[in-house]
């Protein structure tokens, strides 16, 4: 019989890919990996958890509510909407040195900066210093796009309009006299916000750019006069404005107000009595909001947050427990391999 030479034109290619023979790593969940793995992860987590917890505990935090809901509260009188330019004082004392640098935050709660309509009510082009958006702000800013006289609002939008307007002064009471603690407001916003995202129009003086525009309805001063002390801290790159515009993810939030880094306070706030003078402008009671001031220092892990440390500790322990449970299960129930 003559073997016919076969035509094999249609024979598929013999490659690892077409024949599904690609070399591969085939891990399986085996006791040898899982049980020690859980153990190691558990131990590591407990280690990290301890470090985090200790760090978090070392951070000092002083939080004071100054909303004035309580009749006895010093700011209670300022809660009356008819009172203008209300000043109130909060006294407090520090027992031990509050290690510096100390950060001074204001906090708001029940405040929905993350409400969608609030969040979109902003015109990035305008805040980027694009003058064409000064005369016709984006529709997204509505209802803070134009005022009643149809003048464009700059900066427009609900977010800018609602900028936090309380101001604070901190005094240490030394021998019965108030010694002002210098507050540093430079560089409290993100570098990218003040240098990239927000820009003043390149018009000098800055005020010229704002011709034919009006300031946001709730603002006391127009944008170009936000900081009378520092000409470079005005307009859209005013640090307080930038901090405000970085809207919070959650309804309770803190924002950086000042840092205490200079003068006699480079090491922190010494023990003693202090008084905080508050220019109370910002209304929150109408929606059940609360205002606080917070003094805090930071560590490598940021501000005080016990959750992370505790969570690591709990999960680390659970991992170890799980590894023991799995060991028992493995020892008792592992399937026979003869099948």
């Amino acid at each position: 019989m003559v073997k016919q030479k076969q035509e094999t034109a249609n024979q598929p290619d013999n490659t690892a890919f077409t024949q599904q023979r690609l070399p591969a790593w085939q891990p399986i969940i085996s006791a040898g990996i899982v049980i020690p793995g859980f153990l190691i992860i558990g131990l590591a987590f407990i280690g990290i958890g301890v470090a985090l917890f200790v760090t978090s505990q070392s951070i000092q935090v002083l939080e004071m509510d100054y909303t004035g809901v309580d009749k006895t509260s010093p700011c209670n009188r300022c809660t009356d909407p008819n009172v203008k330019s209300c000043l109130c004082q909060m006294d407090f004392s520090i027992d031990t040195l509050f290690k510096g640098p100390v950060f001074f935050y204001y906090g708001l709660s029940n405040y929905y900066q993350n409400f969608r309509k609030y969040g979109v009510s902003i015109d990035y082009n305008q805040l980027f210093g694009d003058l064409s958006y000064f005369t016709s702000p984006s529709e997204k800013c509505s209802p803070y796009q134009y005022d009643n006289n149809n003048n464009p609002i700059v900066p427009c939008g609900a977010m800018a309009n609602s900028m936090f307007s309380d101001t604070f002064k901190l005094f240490q009471i030394v021998n019965g006299t108030n010694k002002e603690v210098p507050l540093d407001g430079k560089g409290i916003a993100w570098w990218t916000d003040s240098n990239i995202k927000y820009r003043n129009p390149s018009v000098t003086p800055l005020q010229m750019a704002f011709n034919n525009t009006v300031k946001p309805l709730l603002w006391a001063n127009p944008a170009y006069q936000l900081d009378p002390a520092d000409a470079n801290n005005n307009g859209f790159i005013n640090q307080d404005f930038l901090v405000w515009m970085r809207r919070a993810a959650l309804p309770n939030f803190r924002k950086l107000y000042r840092r205490i880094t200079s003068g006699d306070y480079t090491q922190g706030l010494p023990a003693g009595n202090y008084t905080l003078q508050i220019a109370y402008n910002y209304p929150v009671l109408s929606f059940g909001g609360r205002k606080t001031v917070v003094f805090s220092n930071v560590s490598w892990m940021g501000g005080k947050n016990d959750f992370l440390g505790i969570a690591y500790l709990v999960i680390g322990s659970m991992c170890i427990i799980m590894s023991i449970v799995m060991l028992i299960v493995y020892a008792k129930f592992r399937f026979s391999e003869e099948e």
Binding site: Q6, E7, T8, A9, Q11, P12, T18, Q19, Q20, P23, A24, Q26, I28, I48, L52, P101, Y105, G107, Y112, N114, F115, R116, S121, Y124, N125, S162, I188, A189, W190, W191, T192, I196, K197, V243, A248, A249, L250, P251, R254, K255, L256, F287, V298, W300, M301, G302, G303, K304, N305, F307, L308, A311, I315, C319, M322, V325, V329, R334, F335, E339
Partner: protein, 1196 residues
């Protein structure tokens, strides 16, 4: 133009009134044009340049998913509720539309090309009294066309005249119905007389009235009126488009139907789409998801109303309400806003990805070298690319026998002549020697006319014949004379036999090689070369085969004037008619027959009888009388045959092997181990089918019982079925337990499922066609199904194509199981179409089965690879894909749901809009595709080693409603972790330089980074098989995420598109914080570790078969060699049978004068000339034993 045009033309058609009768006149274009019949141009393309965009978009938006996303997109354009930027939906939608459009366009371009090619074929048309070469598309109804040999038939033609005598033409209808044998058409004499005289033809003014265009290939009704005379026209006078003219120099035809009206075109394009059970499940799930989406949105809308009432109304100091929007309206708007945000639970990429995965897995089938058959150069082919995963869920296989399980090649294997056995080899010690490819073959070179492909190993038979043993000579003379084979001798000495059944061909070929060469026949004579001497026998009568007689005889007169009756037939029948003197020989031969039957061979007994001249004359007269009788012809003939076929002398017996395809028994064993039930549906006789059942291991000796249902009444069938059932399972209830349920979209479909019943031991069931007809009746079908499903093996014999489909449908309907039908011939088409999956055996004659199949390959044994490897993997991959895909999208979406409780139900998204846009398209698209294209739990060799791995697919264990709910719960858990851990960790915290980090943008970045890493690690947990591609996709996607994120949040992007990328700087400012990374890490482990622990414990407590095998793979690396199959068992029961095909014999044809008339006229073989006749091509196999070519042992 698709539906619009057809709809339009339908409208016009109804206006014009549906065509009721076609009326046309030859050579009269103006007359014919007045009816506006379609000309011969065809158009299968759907679009042209201008209509492509609108029509294609229209078609695409008819798909539910696309329409859904279009609606979403429109919702997003409404500013009041637009919670997402327009591009989040638009970009994916456009991408999906574009991909589909490109695919559709390329398909349509191909159709245009083929249309053009066909339309521009040329043909001679008789116009204005001369033949002009015209394009096909310009041919009109009523034109006269001249076709030449081997040309395609241009349109549906009325045959007018031909070059052949009697106005015959021969056509091949392969393209039409897949049959390659030639068919004869004959023109009317009145038109045939015109010949090829152009003048006469041009003057022809015949008028045709006939039926309107329809799709029935086998029927045609019409009349031709010539010169006032009317002639009836039937299907024999019509050449259909799609046929090819063969062996006919020329012919003339009159165009009756052109282009779209032709029967070929009327038959095309009505394929029903098959959908997989996963598809159905997916539709149901998507519907559930819609419901779920609506309820989520409702909850959030209510939440919004509550919030507005309690908080929102007070918060107006900084965010005034828009005028006219109260809490109710606001909650209504927020409902729609949340519909937009949460739409990702039904991701647009789901359907696209599913298509891609199926396509990829189909390519693997096309590419598989282990399903490539080198002998016919045929690779496996996935003709449908949408059914892959169903291949992993098959529960029932319905197989044809001939050509599917067997090769449809018969080889003359053994014989018993005068009590002596030939064909077996023994060594010196008397042990039987197994015949292999290496065994020395008998040399037939002395015989000029021998068939070189015939193989025989026993030299003693050759010697016996050459010695001049009279019995051996008589034996082979009988084989050379008693048959209905047609010879064909193209060149001197090159003989081809055209046999109606391959058995006959094998027997005649055997006689030919042993020196009794059947050379030619006329209606009255048979010419045989007997040991080199030409002898012409006078053929006096052919006593043809039929089902009742189970034998055939010829009566011949030798040149010496001796009258002999030669008879061959089933042993039982012949034995009754033997002369008592053969008693001893009968006993010996019976023993041999038992042996042959034990080997699974098909046996025939040969006998002869010398006849007396006077008796024969008298008988001949009566025969003539009977055969011309008008009444009771059949009965009278039968009586005569009965009379003469008695007292015959036994010559011996033949054993023909119906060769199984390679590896069939192993394949069947494997499939049975995989829990698949195999039913053989064959047109063969019961004995043959049973024989094959035994030889391919479906029926086994150790089976407790093989029930045979062969009753001829409904009651009988019922009783037999019930008896069988009671025997198998005496305690079973009389009534089947039926589960009624509702299924399908909207639960509209009622289903009834008959429960499986467990039976001790293995049983077989053989049921024949008559009984099956009764059993398939409404009142008995459940009885049939119950009994049949209790049996391991079911063989239905003598079934019609329709019954095949009915059986499949019965199982489909009442078992709710996935079925697969496999076959090779046109008679299998109905069942191939009826089953969930149809498989065609390609490379054989006829393409009909392949053309209507979903998968095709050349050998039955590839079925195990298709199912156990490709099907299983496809199913596994698809299920993994779906589980993972739903998980990833639910997790993604649920985070929004939880976040709603923090943001005043304002439809604020958690993530950056760009992340939402790219999440499904870029960040997670490739890893999951990698998973679903490369994953395998164990490799192919282990899949064969443990066919049980297939079982989970049959039970739909990998993905079902329960798994879906598990996915959702898992997603719930993950999404809670993904929101609350970052929430708790970021609450009131700051950066290490005291600056803000709890802002929305940082939180969004944190949440989305956690999400992406979590879903990627989840994917890693699901991946069993890590190829380099998977690694690349997973790590590449993560890297791409960071790269794209940093790019989008970079200064440059912000300068260019200020308002589109407000997240500038976020990545830089937050991803350099240790507490952010610690949070990410915590979130990851909280999401992943419980899954790992859960899976680990599950593996220990309730390991699945996959876990066990994977464990084994790890330990052993290579599968143990397959256990050697025990040698074929010898079976004591005799299973012999008349091995001829069941249809009526060729006897009439052979003796009909008309058929052979032209042979002397033209020195050209006409009738059976196709060179690819089954006998010429299907040479006997070179080896006797089935080689162990199981896939396990060949791959590296």
């Amino acid at each position: 133009m698709g539906s619009v045009v057809s709809y339009f033309s339908q409208l016009c058609g109804t206006k014009q009134k549906q065509e009721e009768e076609r009326h046309l006149r030859a050579n009269d274009r103006p007359f014919n044009l007045s009816y506006r019949y379609a000309n011969n141009a065809i158009k299968t393309s759907k679009y042209n340049v201008f209509t492509f965009l609108p029509l294609n978009l229209f078609e695409q938006f008819r798909r539910l998913a696309n329409a859904y996303f279009l609606v979403l997109f429109l919702l997003q354009l409404i500013p009041q509720i637009s919670s997402l930027a327009w591009f989040t939906t638009a970009i994916p939608l456009m991408l999906v539309l574009a991909i589909t459009a490109v695919k559709d366009a390329s398909d349509d371009i191909n159709r245009h090309k083929s249309d053009n090619q066909v339309n521009n074929r040329r043909v001679d048309v008789l116009i204005d009294e001369e033949l002009r070469n015209e394009k096909w598309m310009n041919v009109q109804v009523g034109d006269m066309i001249k076709l030449e040999n081997n040309q395609f038939v241009t349109a549906d033609l009325l045959l007018l005249s031909s070059s052949e005598p009697l106005n015959l033409v021969y056509i091949e209808t392969a393209e039409l119905d897949g049959e390659t044998n030639l068919k004869v058409k004959q023109a009317l004499t009145v038109t045939g007389e015109m010949g090829d005289s152009i003048d006469v033809l041009a003057g022809f003014r015949g008028e045709v009235r006939c039926e309107p265009p329809n799709n029935r290939l086998d029927k045609f009704k019409g009349t031709l009126t010539v010169n006032g005379q009317t002639y009836a026209l039937d299907n024999d006078k019509v050449l259909l488009r799609g046929c090819t003219l063969r062996n006919t120099e020329w012919c003339f035809g009159l165009v009756i139907f052109g282009g779209p009206d032709t029967k070929l075109m009327q038959n095309s394009g009505k394929t029903t789409f098959k959908r997989t059970s996963i598809d159905h499940l997916m539709n149901v799930l998507v519907l559930c998801i819609f419901g779920f989406l609506a309820s989520m949105c409702s909850i959030l809308a209510i939440g919004n109303a509550v919030w507005e009432g309690r908080e929102g109304s007070a918060f107006t100091a900084f965010l005034p309400r828009e005028p006219g929007i109260d809490a109710a309206l606001s909650s209504f708007l927020s409902f729609w806003s949340y519909v937009i945000i949460l739409n990702t639970v039904v991701p647009i990429s789901l359907y696209v990805s599913v298509e891609i995965i199926r396509l990829g897995n189909s390519f693997y089938i096309d590419w598989d070298r282990k399903m490539y058959y080198p002998k016919s150069d045929t690779p496996a082919q996935a003709r449908t690319t949408t059914l892959n995963e169903e291949l992993g869920q098959i529960k029932y296989i319905f197989s044809d026998k001939t050509g599917t399980l067997t090769q449809n090649i018969m080889t003359f294997n053994k014989c018993s002549i005068n009590g002596k056995v030939y064909g077996e080899l023994f060594d010196f010690s008397g042990q039987r020697v197994e015949i292999t490819e290496k065994t020395e073959r008998v040399d037939f070179s002395w015989n000029q006319l021998a068939d070189p492909k015939f193989i025989f190993h026993d030299h003693s038979l050759m010697e016996t014949v050459r010695e001049g043993n009279p019995e051996a000579h008589a034996f082979f003379r009988l084989l050379a004379l008693c048959h209905t084979v047609m010879p064909e001798e193209k060149k001197e000495g090159e003989l081809y036999y055209q046999a109606q059944s391959p058995d006959e061909g094998a027997l005649v070929t055997a006689a030919r090689n042993f020196g009794f060469v059947f050379r030619s026949r006329t209606p009255e004579t048979i010419t045989v070369m007997e040991m080199g001497i030409q002898v012409t026998y006078e053929l006096l009568a052919v006593l043809d085969f039929n089902n009742v007689r189970k034998r055939m005889s010829v009566i011949v007169r030798s040149p010496k004037g001796k009258l002999t009756l030669y008879c061959k037939g089933a042993d039982t029948i012949i034995y009754e008619r033997l002369h008592p003197s053969c008693k001893t020989l009968m006993d010996v031969t019976t023993r041999h027959l038992h042996e042959y039957a034990g080997d699974g061979l098909r046996t025939l007994v040969l006998a002869y009888k010398d006849l007396d001249v006077d008796y024969m004359d008298e008988w001949g007269e009566r025969h003539h009388e009977a055969s011309t009788a008008m009444e009771g012809r059949e009965e009278r003939l039968d009586e005569l045959y009965e009379e003469i076929e008695k007292d015959m002398l036994l010559l011996g017996a033949t054993a023909v092997e119906d060769k199984l395809q390679d590896g069939v028994p192993q394949t069947i064993e494997q499939l049975a181990k995989a829990g698949i039930k195999i039913w053989v549906l064959t047109g063969d006789k019961q004995e043959t089918a049973e024989n094959i059942g035994y030889s391919c291991n479906m029926l086994r000796e150790e089976m407790k019982e093989v029930f045979i249902v062969a009753a001829n009444t409904a009651e009988g069938v019922k009783e037999e079925l019930q008896n069988a059932r009671r025997k198998m399972c005496p305690e079973a209830a009389e009534k089947p337990s039926v589960i009624k349920a509702r299924a399908g979209l909207f639960w509209l479909q009622k289903t009834e499922t008959i429960q499986d019943e467990t039976v001790n031991g293995e049983y077989g069931l053989v049921i024949n066609g008559h009984s099956l007809a009764f059993a398939l009746e409404k009142n008995l079908q459940w009885e049939l199904l119950r009994t049949a499903c209790m049996c391991q093996t079911v063989i239905c014999c003598r079934v019609t194509p329709l019954q095949k489909a009915q059986v499949v449908q019965l199982v489909k309907k009442y078992k709710q199981a996935v079925t697969l039908a496999i076959g090779d011939g046109a008679n299998d088409v109905s069942m191939i179409k009826a089953a969930h999956i149809g498989v065609g055996i390609s490379g054989q004659e006829g393409m009909q089965a392949v053309l209507s199949s979903d998968y095709s390959f050349a050998q039955f044994r590839y079925l195990q690879r298709l199912l156990l490897v490709h099907g299983r993997w496809s199913y596994l991959r698809m299920c993994k894909f779906l589980r993972y895909f739903f998980y990833k999208n639910f997790t993604f979406t649920f985070v929004h749901f939880w976040y709603a409780f923090f943001c005043g139900f304002s439809a604020q998204t958690v993530y950056d809009e760009w992340f939402i846009t790219l999440y499904n398209l870029v960040y997670t698209a490739l890893p999951v595709l990698g998973l679903s294209l490369f994953d395998q739990d164990v490799n192919d060799r282990w899949s064969f080693q443990y066919p049980q791995l297939y079982c989970p697919g049959q039970l739909s264990l990998y993905f079902n409603k329960k798994a879906f709910v598990q996915c959702m719960l898992h997603s719930c858990y993950s999404s809670l972790i993904l929101l609350y851990i970052p929430w708790a960790a970021m609450q009131d915290t700051v950066r290490d330089d005291g600056k803000d980090i709890a802002d929305y943008q940082s939180f969004a970045l944190l949440a989305q980074t956690c999400l992406l890493i979590v879903v990627n690690i989840q994917l890693c947990l699901d991946t069993y098989y890590w190829t380099a591609v998977n690694q690349f996709f997973v790590w590449g996607s993560l890297a791409a995420y960071f790269a794209i994120t940093f790019t989008m949040y970079s200064n440059g992007m912000f300068f260019i598109f200020t308002s589109s990328f407000p997240f500038v700087g976020t990545a830089r400012n937050s991803l350099n914080q240790p507490n952010v990374w610690l949070t990410i890490f915590l979130t990851l482990l909280l999401c992943i570790l419980p899954v790992v622990a859960f899976r680990f414990i599950l593996i220990q407590l309730r390991p699945t078969i996959n876990d066990k095998v994977r464990r084994k793979v790890r330990k052993e690396k290579l599968p143990a060699p397959a256990p050697r199959r025990p040698p074929a068992r010898r079976i004591s029961t005799r299973r012999s049978g008349y091995a001829f095909s069941h249809s009526h014999g060729y006897g009439d044809l052979v003796t009909s004068r008309r058929f052979l008339l032209k042979r002397p006229l033209r020195n050209r073989a006409v009738l059976f000339t196709q060179t690819d006749s089954p006998l010429a091509e299907n040479q006997p196999q070179h080896y006797r034993t089935i080689k162990e070519v199981s896939e396990e042992s060949t791959s590296p």
